[in-house]
Symmetry: C2
Subunit: 342 residues, 2 copies
């Protein structure tokens, strides 16, 4: 591996081929004045003939920045995060920056390794969907000049820029919608309780019910990764008992899809189920084509990514500006599944 890229033509090769001084080649490559046009043409011809390409890595490193940023999401294959990352890429490109990407898979150690590996390459900034309880390891990087913006969730113990979504308000809106359609027994299927957004969203569920004067029934709450077994067990409990839920709220699109897939299966023989009304957090492709079409509380991942990238570039310009925490709104999209009667 250490022999890689060693047969690249150098500026010295160009100078020799054009019969000019190294400094002259450097002036042409860097668009500096002081070269007469005929000589410049000779240099350019040699550059083309040899396939010489300027080494931006070395150049930017000498200047002290690399015109690159690192993005660490939960899973780049998840459309929510890939759409968010694509939006970061768009903003970065307008600034002439390139983007490193990495997926943490909800592992704090993998996230830390990725973020520090990006910093070791001297990225100018990082956009991170934080995992775990400790992000202090980024403090020396930030102190050294790396801009950091947290997205989807705040950093655990670091006062840094963040772009979040109004999770509590979004869920409240969804639960109030189900209440307005006559539902009183509303099940909540969230994600693993240590995920920040999962915690916020179940809080929204509790607040909406409490504000409306209803009592929280813990048997109607399930906080677990949406494995098939966990979703099936939760649905059997919530829909199969003597006083079943007539509506469900699902805490993110992975949960929504897992629940819809389970509801499409015939229930076990001893369980009698009516199709419950359903509102899901997060929009997803073809939610409008299902029967019934799925009512959702939509976030806008492209807008989240754009906002994060814009904050990041403002932070690069001014390390000393006040820490900003933006909270983006959600939108109720009524499609049918959330308007079914109890």
């Amino acid at each position: 591996m250490s022999k890689l890229a060693t047969n690249r033509p150098t500026m010295n090769d160009v100078a020799a081929a054009a019969g000019v001084a190294l400094k002259t080649v450097s002036r042409v490559v860097n668009d500096e004045p002081g070269v007469n046009p005929a000589t410049a043409d000779k240099v350019k011809a040699a550059i083309d003939a040899l396939g010489f390409r300027r080494n931006d890595g070395a150049r930017t490193l000498r200047r002290g920045h690399t015109a690159s940023i690192g993005v660490v999401v939960r899973d780049l294959a998840d459309p929510f995060y890939s759409t968010l990352t694509r939006a970061v890429e768009e903003v970065a490109l307008t600034h002439g920056f390139l983007v490193f990407t990495g997926s943490s898979d909800e592992s704090p150690s993998r996230q830390r390794e990725l973020a520090l590996a990006f910093c070791a390459r001297r990225v100018d900034g990082v956009v991170i969907v934080p995992v775990g309880e400790d992000h202090l390891y980024l403090q020396p990087e930030i102190a050294a000049g790396v801009a950091a913006v947290f997205v989807d969730r705040p950093a655990a113990n670091l006062d840094a820029d963040a772009v979040l979504v109004d999770n509590v308000g979004g869920v409240r809106k969804g639960i109030e919608h189900l209440l307005a359609h006559g539902h009183r027994r509303i099940g909540f299927l969230g994600d693993a309780p240590d995920i920040f957004t999962a915690g916020e969203r179940v809080r929204g569920y509790r607040e909406a019910l409490t504000s409306a004067g209803h009592i929280i029934d813990p048997s109607l709450i399930s906080m677990a990764s949406p494995t098939r077994a966990a979703v099936r067990a939760a649905l059997d409990r919530m829909l199969g008992g003597p006083s079943p839920a007539t509506a469900l709220f699902t805490g993110n699109s992975r949960v929504t899809v897992a629940v819809l897939r389970e509801l499409a299966e015939p229930p076990p023989e001893h369980v009698k189920r009516r199709r419950p009304a359903l509102v899901g957090f997060d929009d997803f492709e073809v939610a409008d084509l299902l029967s019934p079409a799925v009512t959702v509380i939509a976030q806008d991942p492209a807008r989240i990514g754009r906002a994060a990238a814009e904050l990041l570039f403002r932070r690069m310009e001014n390390k000393n500006r006040e820490v900003v925490r933006r909270e983006l709104p959600t939108r109720l999209i009524v499609r049918g599944s959330g308007e079914m009667p109890p």
Copy 2:
């Protein structure tokens, strides 16, 4: 911007704090022998106290490679490409490599800019979903030692490693499936004809019909970007005439979803439509939850990405090995929409 990262502690700062020579710090940082344990501990304590972090960018550049690769896809927000990219990331991480990503949006100039920008950062390799008719611009990079693997489509005029999918065979399998279910009038809705995979897939359609002794009816073929207007016009023509298509084959998941969305709308008053059978190229999330569930010819984007990354690392190890062109198979997934009678 040029002041970025200037307040990072340097090895000189560490040497001063630990009261040792610069060379000693360098030995500790690079795990070189010749430092006694007590001194090494003093250096490590100073490193922790100052928050010193080795500059991997400078270090790898001096060695002539950067332990990074660049991935240029059509659109990172598209689940097919984000799943492919995620798989590349996984393989790269096992080699200790980081991944730059970028989206071409089917623009040859944007793709060229991204690929050359990655090369200018001295990535060790690039994985590219090629766009356009000319990829010769990569020849000097490859000659200089950059490994290149093309994916989903071959490079236009460059003999380079590629990972493709058996598009012709996949479509033939889908059309033969529809023929076996009694369909004779089968419409084909592809994508823009200048996209390699779109051309291959319509070729599979023609071959399957011709091999089975049927005549190609050009009015049953539409090759256009799946805008709403284009899809609507094609469906009105194929399904509304006196001898309507009884089945459709859609050339990728973007087309499939656009067609399903259009079929869900009531047709214009003068058009009488029966729901056609449908087989789509590409699987997509919740295809199994639609009514009818969608029969597809599935590619495996994670496998494609993995195969591309593995080829890339083999190419890095040996620039002179023979050019490899792998073609991955597709899989027919029977779900209901492709088994409806004429």
